[in-house]
């Protein structure tokens, strides 16, 4: 990566945020006449120039279909595509690149597991355990499966701080629990779940474990072998990569025993009208022409994140979140939703007498982008008794000065409604 080779983006003193911001073209603009402060990173993160240029180079220089071409461009595209798979493998420390399946995103990764592993291995009455803070994408695929085959969805409740009640989680693990599907970091609350402990407990009950890592991958080091989970799902676009590309990590033995997700080209070895032989891993799960540019772009995003350094990112964001939490809590009328001991990247809040949507519109006038609504986690909203929250979510290019503007924006919102 050219930008990082000249001078590191982090040092003992922390991140060189000014230089990092220079790597993100979208941040160099004004919105409503004010510099953009982008606090909607949990929805999607911005893209560094390295990713944008990688996509551009692919389409300008070596756009070709992969795996079957003998011509030069196809070989280049295939090498870049498979090179990105190795980058993903190293990024999450999977044992083999055959365990890295490219999908459209976390949602598709979870649906894939539901419709292949779970649909063939679970029986009516078997239980699937999730938590009360799941994103809809880790609820609905299981509900669909329950309707299809009669499995039972169980939910480990959360408490007022937005933490899973571990004694309840433990209590719900039983002989019928065949699958545990849990979020690593909550998009609505910012809670970092004690996933190591939860995976260990689930596996002690012989349950297969899927971890939804959509929010975790951009903020913390993920090591699927250390975690010892069976499946791990993540999205490229939250990791500073392109939209429409994601990853399903799966333990090789499980993936090999699973039926394919979709049928089509590239996922087969041989097709006759009588019989089809499926391809080896990981291609068995990658039917059709994949999002080649997206995969290569995701590889560039991983290079970029590695260049900044996840340890430095985590330390910087932790400090920024603490600063923002203190500043927001000092605003009269603000109630922070999600006060877990371990949090990452997300500040969800409501304000007395001002609906989140109005907060969002008023902040937009200041050039500040936050998200408002239920964050695809309606059960979390129900639990906290709010129809919606306002949510500021951070990335390593956000600054204290931007947080100060956010706080001033909230004071301004109060004036509008005073």
């Amino acid at each position: 990566m050219n930008a990082a080779s000249a001078k590191p983006l982090n040092s003992a003193a922390g991140l060189d945020v000014e230089r990092i911001r220079g790597d993100f073209p979208v941040l160099q603009q004004e919105v409503q006449g004010k510099p953009l402060a982008y606090f909607d990173n949990a929805a999607t993160a911005q893209k560094p120039l390295a990713v944008i240029e990688t996509l551009d180079e692919y389409y300008r220089g070596y756009n070709a279909n992969i795996h079957r071409g003998v011509h030069t461009l196809s070989e280049r595209a295939t090498a870049a595509y498979e090179g990105a798979r190795i980058k993903v493998r190293n990024f999450i420390n999977a044992a083999a690149e055959q365990e890295i399946i490219f999908t459209r995103g976390t949602t598709e990764s979870i649906n894939l597991v539901a419709q292949t592993w779970a649909r063939t291995n679970l029986r009516a009455g078997d239980e699937i355990l999730i938590t009360g803070m799941e994103h809809h994408s880790n609820i609905v695929p299981w509900q669909i499966l329950c309707e299809q085959i009669g499995t039972v969805l169980k939910v480990a409740p959360i408490d007022d701080r937005g933490e899973v009640r571990l004694e309840e989680f433990e209590r719900l693990l039983g002989p019928k629990t065949r699958l545990v599907a849990i979020v690593h970091i909550s998009n609505a609350l910012g809670t970092v779940n004690p996933v190591h402990h939860m995976v260990e407990r689930a596996r002690a009950h012989d349950a297969v474990v899927l971890v939804d890592g959509a929010q975790a991958a951009p903020h913390t080091r993920v090591d699927v072998r250390e975690l010892d989970c069976d499946f791990y799902a993540l999205s490229g676009h939250k990791l500073f990569g392109p939209t429409g590309i994601g990853v399903l990590y799966g333990r090789k033995a499980l993936l090999e025993a699973m039926p394919p997700y979709q049928g089509g080209g590239d996922m087969i070895k041989m097709v006759t009208f009588e019989k089809t032989v499926y391809n080896d891993l990981p291609y068995k799960f990658e039917a059709g022409t994949p999002h080649i540019a997206g995969v290569i772009g995701l590889g560039a995003a991983i290079d970029y994140v590695n260049g900044v350094g996840l340890a430095a990112i985590q330390a910087y964001e932790h400090e920024l979140l603490a600063y923002a939490t203190e500043a927001m809590a000092a605003v009269d009328g603000v109630r922070i939703i999600g006060t877990a001991a371990e949090k990452a990247g997300v500040l969800s809040f409501v304000m007395e007498g001002i609906h989140p949507h109005d907060i969002g519109t008023i902040l937009d006038h200041e050039g500040i982008a936050i998200r408002t609504g239920h964050h695809c986690a309606m059960p979390v909203m129900d639990y906290f008794g709010v129809p919606a929250t306002a949510r500021a979510s951070f990335a390593f290019y956000n600054t204290r000065a931007e947080v100060d503007r956010l706080v001033r924006g909230l004071e301004n919102a109060k004036k509008v409604f005073s």
Binding site: Q32, H355, P356, I362, T372, P387, V416
Partner: protein, 148 residues
């Protein structure tokens, strides 16, 4: 765009103290409206005498635009016939959605305060949820309506 064009005084006032707010025990029609994007929910209550709206109220929760719009709507529709109500809805809808609208401001009255919403396309649904709900209620619809 000035924020004050959106959050006009009359809107802030109707959000803070919504008129005709509360359940109506003896309503002839009752219908729920829901905006899944924002989580806005309201229930609309109507009392009818023939085709005339003799009483109207609402309850629920939502953003300032949706609450103020519902409040202003109840004031505008009380005593109107169904045909008159539909005509006001058409004018109001045009005000928020049509390019270069030519609204009859006299007819719209205080509802014109919501004109600023047209500059915020994501918020138009907030302002029209109550209108879609009342329209469906007058048509005899009983299933909750949704803006999505």
């Amino acid at each position: 765009m000035d924020l004050k064009d959106l959050y006009q005084e009359v809107i802030v006032d109707h959000n803070r103290s919504p008129r005709n707010f509360g359940a109506m025990e003896d309503a002839d029609r009752r219908l729920e409206g829901f905006n899944p994007l924002c989580g806005d929910r309201l229930t609309l209550y109507l009392k009818l005498d023939g085709d005339r709206i003799t009483d109207i109220s609402f309850d629920g929760s939502g953003c300032a635009i949706s609450v103020a719009s519902a409040s202003l709507m109840t004031e505008a529709l009380k005593g109107k016939t169904v045909a008159e109500a539909n005509a006001i809805f058409d004018d109001f809808h045009d005000l928020l959605t049509v390019d270069n609208p030519d609204p009859d401001l006299d007819k719209l009255g205080k509802l014109a305060a919501l004109a600023g919403v047209r500059d915020y396309p994501t918020r138009v649904k907030c302002a029209t949820l109550c209108w879609h709900t009342v329209h469906s209620a007058l048509e005899g619809e009983e299933e909750p309506i949704s803006t999505e």
